[in-house]
Subunit: 244 residues, 2 copies
DNA sequence: AATCAATTCCTCATATTTGCACCAAATTAA
DNA sequence: TTAATTTGGTGCAAATATGAGGAATTGATT
């Protein structure tokens, strides 16, 4: 996973507690005794998630939150001691942020961190190129909106099932290479699922039918997997390098 | 300030240039590679100002301008590559608020954006797509007052239960994206893990019934979750939901 | 205790998606 | 060429997702 988390809390105990729990889950953590210190570090070198206590020496957590929000949409989890703070937070339009009221369960916080990061990844995806930071990715005349989970073909709505959506998004994000069946099964169906190898072919088949009138085509790499190509460059390169 | 600006330009460089300049001034920006993509997004979730390039793949900026003007008086700034009066006049007659000829100064564009928005605010009071300073957020003909926790529909009082209120508020403040069930459970019910429950569906069900006579609709993203859209433009695009 | 509103749970009906079997077609190897 | 393997298409059944109605539960108030 390898995500970097900044934690600001003036209480050493809480900071270290959080660190140990998060590091046990393979997160990298840096703690700060004040929000200002965190902010300073963040502006030099951003991280993947921020945990902010509300009450701290110097500027309070709300101030730091606002400052970070001026330049970043990094997920932020607030820690509050008082219920009144919690009320206040709920009144805010916090967007994708979360809050915890002390005392809280470190286990729950960790799982919250995980789910927040997962959600973030869902939205942002890890696309090589072409991704416009507004959540749109496209290939030929197909545009996928990661935010609304909608796809369009030449501007027309283009209904996709969940699996088809995941497959097409993955293909588009990896347009520059061929993808093996096993990789598709891993990434889209997950490691655990016990399904036939041919299920990927099934979804490819259905997706092919749907995009048959588009400028995109899923070419077969015989004995290996698939690759997304534009219809104009019909004969995509066959056997690329790595196989597995 | 917190205004939302949509930009349509097929040139990634220009789009990103504008975005960075505008975001530096605290505007929120979403870029689109085509006017059609912008139009689609706008109809689902309006913004406070639109910047349109004239020459784009698909429908050109003037067409998009006309389409937007059919339903909205949002300020629109046109970008044109040609320094011809025809463009200027045509643009003005169609109801654009201003135009810039490429190459233009980003600084000037930003100041124009500011002045146009200021004028707009003086004219229409507060018609921001986002939260206004007095704690009001709105969508279609629904207005929610976060301070008093009251809602109105077309000005009429609109009773909501606590869960319905939380759900609707969350949907409205995340109008630009689809929201998964697990996120709703997480945010509104506070469930950490994926419990097998359909409480979210239940509340969605009841909320749908209540807003059935409003301009808003909760569309289902099959296999994923929900998203708030306006009822008026589920028009041309029929199956505009049920995609994932 | 009785009542009421809000929420959750349950069941059923329906629609959609997905996995798989089976066979045909394509590709490779011999 | 033939045989073995891989891939693609059709159709169907199982699994899953959704929505509606209403019953059960909770919690507050009388």
């Amino acid at each position: 996973m390898d995500k970097l988390i900044y934690i600001a809390d003036d209480d050493d105990n809480i900071r270290n507690l959080l660190k140990s729990f998060l590091e046990r889950e393979e997160f990298r953590c840096i703690g700060f005794p004040t929000g200002d210190a965190l902010l300073e570090q963040y502006s030099n070198s951003p991280c993947d998630l921020v945990i902010l206590d509300v009450m701290m020496p110097g500027h309070d957590g709300f101030y730091i939150l606002k400052e970070i929000r001026k330049s970043s949409n990094v997920p932020i989890i607030m820690l509050t001691a008082k219920d009144s703070d919690a009320d206040y937070i709920q009144g805010l339009d916090l967007g994708s942020d979360d809050y915890f009221t002390k005392p809280f369960s470190p286990v729950k916080l960790v799982s919250k961190v995980k789910s927040v990061l997962k959600r973030q990844e869902e939205l942002t995806g890890k696309t090589s190129a072409k991704e416009t930071d507004d959540g749109l990715i496209s290939f030929a005349d197909i545009v996928i909106n990661r935010k609304t989970k909608e796809a369009t073909l030449s501007g027309e709505p283009f209904p996709l099932t969940p699996n088809e959506y995941a497959l097409l998004t993955y293909l588009i994000s990896n347009r520059d290479r061929a993808i093996s069946r096993t990789e598709l099964l891993d990434k889209i169906w997950g490691y655990e699922t016990q399904v036939e190898t041919r299920v990927a072919d099934d979804t490819v088949k259905r997706l092919r039918k749907k995009i048959s009138h588009s400028g995109a085509r899923i070419s077969t790499i015989w004995g290996y997997g698939f690759r997304l190509v534009t219809r104009s460059e019909e004969d995509g390169a066959e056997g690329e390098d790595s196989e597995d």
